[in-house]
Symmetry: C2
Subunit: 347 residues, 2 copies
DNA sequence: CATTTCTACTGTATCGTTACAGATTGCATT
DNA sequence: AATGCAATCTGTAACGATACAGTAGAAATG
């Protein structure tokens, strides 16, 4: 609780041991509350010497503006809402993102509020809540669809936001994305260089935008390097057991692939299990390339060829983008795409 | 921003399209603002019919109390701060905890604010910040030490909190913990049942409380089932590469262990790599038991014997505990310990 | 009938901050 | 000397909610 009584002090000035407010500083400097407020904001109508004096006292007292006061008066919440899908990732995907974001926010007055939601439920709910209650100055969302209704709504309402992933319907907004097209293309290249020609793709669910990016990169890769696709009837969102089973069946078939491209690290673990269940071996019977956000796959099978997606970096970029957007920077200038990193030798 | 101008309406009553406040409801019901406030809190001095009427209108309008207003007036933030160590876990440990917490908070007015900090820096910093700025009603912390200064400080200041892990210095406080002693004991039991007698332990850093729990369970296990310890000079916090190297050396030695107990899932991956680098095989030359918070190890090596720690459940328990503590429930009643879950056959 | 008691409701002040509309001062200009 | 004009500083009101100290009217009490 922030409110404690004032003991043995003039009622209007916070006691020394209380948390200091503008009033405290005003009292100590002999200035008016308004002057102190404006001095701390470096307003042009306050004398240089006064500003200096106020800043000194404020620092001395360890003054921190009361967030509730600011928020009530100005509507500025100093909150960035991170909307996460609960089932987003089994492996620390979202934690890395949180850490990346908070790295950037730690130098600012912003706090992160995490708003998870099960993606079986309506993904619009958390966004609507934030808009209706005005509970954040900016929003970060992921699992973006080509014509994402959340992006539409946030744009329409003028709420600053950044996305992890792009849209594809003429919507302009801040985003950070991994170059999934480049990844898939380069993945095929690597497989073909190892003499693989019959390649399967474990792709993301088709409703997400990057499904298309992966597909295009994959297909131009097949074309450019002369390989063909072996269809795989399961996506990265499927339960790991399903992925394993489907891959096992595929690998036992006569026309089994000799290469697999996998668009998610956790799914790669299941794919690997399916391969082994079919009695095949990576490096011998086939090769696998996978994207991963946490460097773990090579600990499992050094033979897996991995591309790293730096999710913490993504978090940083998005945090910077939202803040810039809040500060009025044009969305066009707040878009970035990161390239896959191919560690030369796992580990 | 929460503040928009009022267009074409009496200045004192929010326009219909604005977010409704108590004033809106007061206007619509013809009651005073105070009455509305008290009616919504179900205060005893308001008539039953009036309460009903106010509630109806409030629901109709989708009224949600303005958090800044409440916070400014009462000091109640409706925020639970989750203090996370950035390097806590490579694998989705913390995300699971966040999801567990938010499951519980979703039915309440509480929000989660995530406050990460690098544990190379002073772990007291975030806690001090929260206390000084009064920015939360409750706190959740992890990586607890036997005489944890954060626990001392929070207790001293009367800030409700819950911990993931216990202290061991006569401090009474809400916590949720995994029964690491039972885990280590049962782990040894399982190894001995498979005929293993020379067992190594990959233990947590000794400053954490559960180091002692693991040690005791391990040692009584060795004693009860008749086995001996092979020392392992590295802990679960070490870089994975270090763990692998140390384990490899150990496994190549003449007196290599035939069993390993591992207190963290991510470390188990590195231990496994070390074993394989030394040319040994799980199930043949030795067995390994590991705790894990995300069911991943058996996808890597089905031979690893795993015990599951349900971190999402831990999150739920801690969230419930902090809220109960905020509501004045005695700390003694808010302590829980979860047992290791041994899935009969991995997967 | 006067008085007390109770029920149901309300006005005012306040939390900390900032927008806004002044107010004061000194100094240069007429 | 009067006026204008920066340059500085300040009081008041307001954001939305609630604690507190009432008030009005009805009902119970004597």
């Amino acid at each position: 609780m922030e409110n404690k009584g004032n003991f043995g002090q003039a009622a209007s000035v916070p006691a020394a041991r209380e948390r200091p407010t503008l009033k405290t500083i005003a009292f100590m400097t002999g200035l008016g509350v308004t002057t102190v407020s404006r001095a701390l904001k470096d307003a042009p109508d306050i004398g240089a010497e006064t500003k200096e004096r106020v800043r000194m006292v404020a620092r001395q007292l360890g003054y921190q503006p009361n967030r509730a006061g600011v928020r009530l008066r100005t509507g500025k919440t100093n909150v960035i809402a991170l909307v996460l899908s609960i089932d987003e990732e089994i492996m620390g995907f979202s934690s890395q993102m949180v850490f990346g974001i908070s790295e950037v926010l730690s130098g600012t007055p912003y706090h992160i509020v995490v708003t998870p939601h099960s993606h079986s439920k309506d993904p619009m709910l958390p966004v609507r809540y934030i808009l209706e209650t005005g509970s954040a100055d900016g929003v970060i969302i992921s699992r973006i669809e080509p014509d994402d209704p959340r992006v539409r709504l946030l744009t329409e309402r003028g709420m600053p936001f950044a996305t992890h992933g792009r849209t594809d319907a003429g919507l302009t907004h801040p985003f950070h994305d991994f170059d999934n097209e480049a990844f898939a293309h380069q993945a095929v290249e690597r497989l073909v260089k190892r003499g693989r020609r019959r390649i399967a793709l474990l792709q993301p669910p088709s409703k997400l935008t990057y499904y298309a990016h992966i597909r295009i990169g994959f297909q131009t890769g097949l074309h450019d390097y002369g390989a063909e696709e072996v269809p795989l009837r399961v996506n990265t969102d499927a339960p790991l057991a399903d992925i394993r089973d489907v891959v096992e069946v595929m690998m036992r078939a006569a026309n089994a692939p000799d290469g697999i491209v996998c668009s998610a690290g956790s799914a790669a673990i299941a794919v690997n299990a399916g391969i082994e269940a079919a009695g095949k071996a990576l490096g011998r019977d086939l090769d696998m390339v996978s994207k991963q956000s946490v460097p773990i796959l090579n600990w499992i099978r050094p033979e897996i060829i991995t591309a790293q997606e730096d999710v913490r970096q993504a978090g940083r970029e998005m945090a910077k983008a939202v803040i810039a957007r809040i500060d009025g920077v044009e969305p066009e200038l707040l878009q970035s795409i990161s390239q896959p990193i191919w560690p030369e030798n796992g580990r």
